[in-house]
Amino acid sequence: MYKYDHYDQAIVDARVEEFRDQVRRRIAGDMTEDQFKPLRLMNGLYLQLHAYMLRVAIPYGTLDSRQMRMLAHIARKYDRDYGHFTTRQNIQYNWIKLEDAPDILADLATVEMHAIQTSGNCIRNISSDQYAGAAADEVTDPRPWAELLRQWSTFHPEFSYLPRKFKIAVIASPTDRAAMRLHDIGIEMVERDGQLGGRIFVGGGMGRTPMIAPEIKDFVTSADLLSYLEACLRVYNRHGRRDNIYKARIKILIHELGADEYRRQVEAEFAHVKTLGLDPPAAEYDRIAAFFAAPAFDADAPDAIDRSDPDFALWVDQNVAAHKQPGHAIVTISLKPAGGIPGDASSAQIDLMADLAERYSFDELRVTHAQNIVLPHVRKADLHAIWMALADAGLAEANLDLISDIIACPGLDYCSLANARSIPVAQKIAARFASPERQRDIGELKLKISGCINACGHHHAGHIGILGVDRKGTENYQLLLGGSGAEDASLGKITGPGFDEDGVVDAIERTVEKYRTLRTDGERFLDTYRRVGMDPFKEAIYG
C-alpha cells in the first residue's frame, strides 16, 4: 500500500487547518452560506436531507486495517454508528455536525486519509479494480498508475474548476470490474510488443445522458500517460460547456465534437504538453510501484478447501474468486445481507473486517463499486475461519453477483437530490428472491437502482436497472433491461411505463421468470436478453 511522504502529509494537514478556520468563520457569521458552500464541498461536506453528509475518499478503493478502524471510529464517535460504502469506492457518513467536521478530518489525516475532491467540479477519487494485485488476468497492477493519477490530480491548478465533475478509472485486466467505460476517462493498461501502456477511453458516463466512452487512443506508452491525460483534460477544460450544467460533462463535448475531432485536438495538445516535461521519471514511478509490491505469500499454502460444511461451500462458490498465487483466494464480503441496506456497515462490522484483513489478508481491504468489501490476499486454508467470523457478524451472505447483490444509491431516504427511495425497493426485491436456491438458479444478474436521474446507483449499467422518478409527488419506478458495466458495456433500455414500489418488484419477477423459460444452457440473463431482445420481456411485464 502507498504510504504518504511528508509532502502528502503536509498537504492534508494544511487542508485540515484551513477548513477548521473556514468552519469557525462560517459559524461566527464571517461568511455566508453562499460563500461557505463551495469551500465545504471541496472538503466533501454536503448538506443532505437530515444533516451534513461527509464523503471520505478511499483512493482506488484500497485501505489497510488502521484506516478501516478509523472509519469505524468516525462512525461511532461522530455519526450514528454506521457508514455507507459508495459506488465510487468511498464511504459516506449521513449524520455529521458541521462543528465536528474539522475534528473528523484531523482524525482522518492521522491515518493518511481525507475528503478532498470528493465533491466539486474537479477530478474525483480515482477508481480501480478491486482485485488489483490479486487477479490472475491482469497485465500489471493498476494501483501504481491510479496513485500516480491521484498525485497528479490532487489540487491540480488547471483542473480544480472544470466545467463539471470528472471521474477516472484505471484497470489492467481484460475483465472490467470497475465500469471503466462509464467514466469520463477510462484507462485499460495493456502490453504491446513488450511495452506497457494504456488504452484510453474518453466520454463515458451515466446520469441523464448515459454514454459508453469511445476509444480515443488505442495505445499510449506509460511514459506518455500523464501528458496524454493532461491533453485530454485541457481540451475539455477549453471547450466544455459552462453555460448549461446538463451539457457540461465531457461526454457531451465529445458527442457534439465527434470522437475524431476531439482526438485530433487532443493529439495537437499532446504534442505541446509533451514538451513540458510533465511525465515523471521512471525512478518516481518505481518509487510508487514499490509500495504495491506483492506481499510475502505463503509458497506452501495448500490449495485444497474442506467443503464438508455445505453453507461454507456455498459461500466459497459464490463469494470467493481465484487468486494469481496458488493456495490463495480473493474474498468478497457482501454488504447486502437479507433485509439490510446495500453498502451500509456498522462500526462493529467495519472493525471486524479490519481485524480479518490484518490477520488474514496482509492488512489489505478493498471497497468495490458494487458496495462490497474485498479481502484480496487470503490463504485458502483460512477461508473457513474467515467465513465463521463473518457469519457471526451477519456478513456471510453468499450472493455476490446474484439478484440480491443490489447496487442502490441512498435515494430519497437520505439524498436531497433524489426523487424516490431506492433502499426499500432493494429490500423488497431481495426479500422476493430470498431463497438461495432460487438465486443460484437465476445465476448472475446485476440489479442496480437509482433514486434519480443522476444515476449514482448505476441503473443504466444494470442487467436490470431501476430508476426512481417523481410522478406528481408520488414515487414511480422505471424498469430498464440490458445494461452492463463490464467489458461488454452496454446501456439498459426502458421497458415502458413505470410502476409503483410493489409493482416494480412484480415486474422484475415476471422478467426473471420469462428469462428462465427462454434461456439456453449457460446463458446469463444478460445473454438471453441480448439474444432475444426486449419484446418477449415486454410482453411478460405488461401482458
Partner: protein, 98 residues
Amino acid sequence: MKILTGNDLKTGAVTWWTGEGWSIHVEDAADVGEHGESIAAAEEGARRVNAPYVIAAQATAEGPRPAHIKDRIRALGPTVRLDLTLKPADPAVGEWVI
C-alpha cells in the same frame, strides 16, 4: 398552509419555524402565510438556520403534515432506519411518511 423549514447551521438537523423560534418537531411548525421568505431571510441572516425554504403542508389533528414525501422524510428520518427517526418507538411512523 405554508410552513418554513431549514437545517440548523451547526448540527445540520432539520428544523421547523414555530413562529417564535425553531423546533426539530414538525408538529410545532407554524403557518407562515405569505411571510415565509422574509422570515427565512432574517433567520438565515442571524445564522439561526441554514438553507431555509417554504413548503406546502396539510393541517391535521397531529399538526402540520408536509405535502411532499421528501419533506415528510426530512421531518421524520429515513424510512429504512426507523430506529434513527424522531419517533423510533412508534410503529405507525412509517405510514405517516408514505
